[in-house]
Symmetry: C2
Subunit: 210 residues, 2 copies
């Protein structure tokens, strides 16, 4: 609680902190229940101060989404680069994504919040970009895997990418609804092999950990 005493940050630092507490509050109480009053209280300032740094609440959500997009893509790209083959990269991306979400539980909620992309067209545009970029990344890795004979040649890589994203969605959903009973990382480790079985070339030895 050493935060509540500090005040008068620079504009850039304050903007960063607004984004931070917004994600924090969204994780705890849901995206559409975060008020500007909540944000201010979490930072130890008054509500009006929030609007010195953002012209509107939607502008805050936009900043949050851009933050998510940049961090997310950086994490995924770095994870994929460390893989020694397409399928290895896919697995590293998967677990990097799961770990990132576990550290920032609000992220999937923000990206799928109809409350945000249902009203503001610009916000939805950002979400669409993120989704398409991610899906393309997965489909590309799978096609690379086909070239290297790790992935079935008759696989519909586009559909498989949809399934991949759905897998993450489903994992998040279940661990958020059945909270406590299941942990995200544990369920993820169980579910990925099932997905890999769908894309791998049928071989005598399982190709998951060569």
């Amino acid at each position: 609680m050493s935060e509540a005493v500090r005040k008068r940050l620079g504009a850039d630092e304050r903007r960063e902190e607004i984004i931070r507490v917004t994600l924090e509050l969204a994780a705890r109480q849901g995206v559409d229940d975060v008020t500007t009053q909540d944000m201010a209280q979490a930072m130890g300032v008054t509500q009006g101060a929030v609007f010195r740094h953002f012209p509107s609440k939607d502008a805050i959500w936009m900043a949050v989404m851009l933050w998510v997009r940049d961090r997310m893509m950086a994490v995924l790209t770095r994870a994929a680069a460390q893989g020694r083959d397409p399928l290895d990269s896919l697995q590293r991306m998967f677990f990097a994504h799961i770990a990132f979400i576990a550290g920032h539980p609000a992220i999937p909620r923000v990206l799928t919040s109809e409350h945000l992309h249902g009203r503001n067209a610009v916000l939805r545009q950002v979400v669409t970009e993120i989704m398409l970029a991610y899906e393309a990344k997965i489909a590309h890795l799978l096609r690379d895997g086909q070239v290297q004979k790790q992935v079935r040649l008759d696989l519909d890589t586009q559909a498989a990418a949809t399934l991949y994203i759905g897998m993450i969605q489903g994992l998040v959903l279940q661990t958020s609804i059945l909270r406590g009973q299941r942990t995200l990382a544990a369920e993820a480790a169980r579910t990925l092999p099932v997905f890999l079985a769908a894309v791998c070339t049928p071989s005598p030895t399982q190709g998951t950990h060569p």
Copy 2:
């Protein structure tokens, strides 16, 4: 728009219509943006009239969820019963679910709305029940499939059920965000074979349509 003229329904019919327009509005403008004023306007009555039939707005959402639970389970059970083997039942359930969602687009939004199950504990309980029952249904079918040698014996049926539900989640998400560009039914038909490849016993002929 012949609805707006009709008035003075019986209490039961009015309750049914409130549930109906609530789902309708939730599909169009998002779960948490549906006001009691919207409901009343959609039915051609005043806002106060809504509260003659439900004690609170949460009670309306509860009624909606119970409606969804009952209809959903009936549809799934009927579809599964028509299958001639476990894997056939699984596919019929899948497409029945997709068709049901296509006819009532608000359903996945209602079930995954943090705005609802984030605040009201009883509402979340209903969602949890639905999810667990559905997952159990899938896992059971997969175990039956193992007995009949349609499904790999080394499959983690629990994890596969998670992936199955995630598949539907992902399909809904993508067709709702990329609305217009992709249709739910078409994407579903492409994605299911990928999932089946993960669970089926490896065989020379694809076991999807025996």
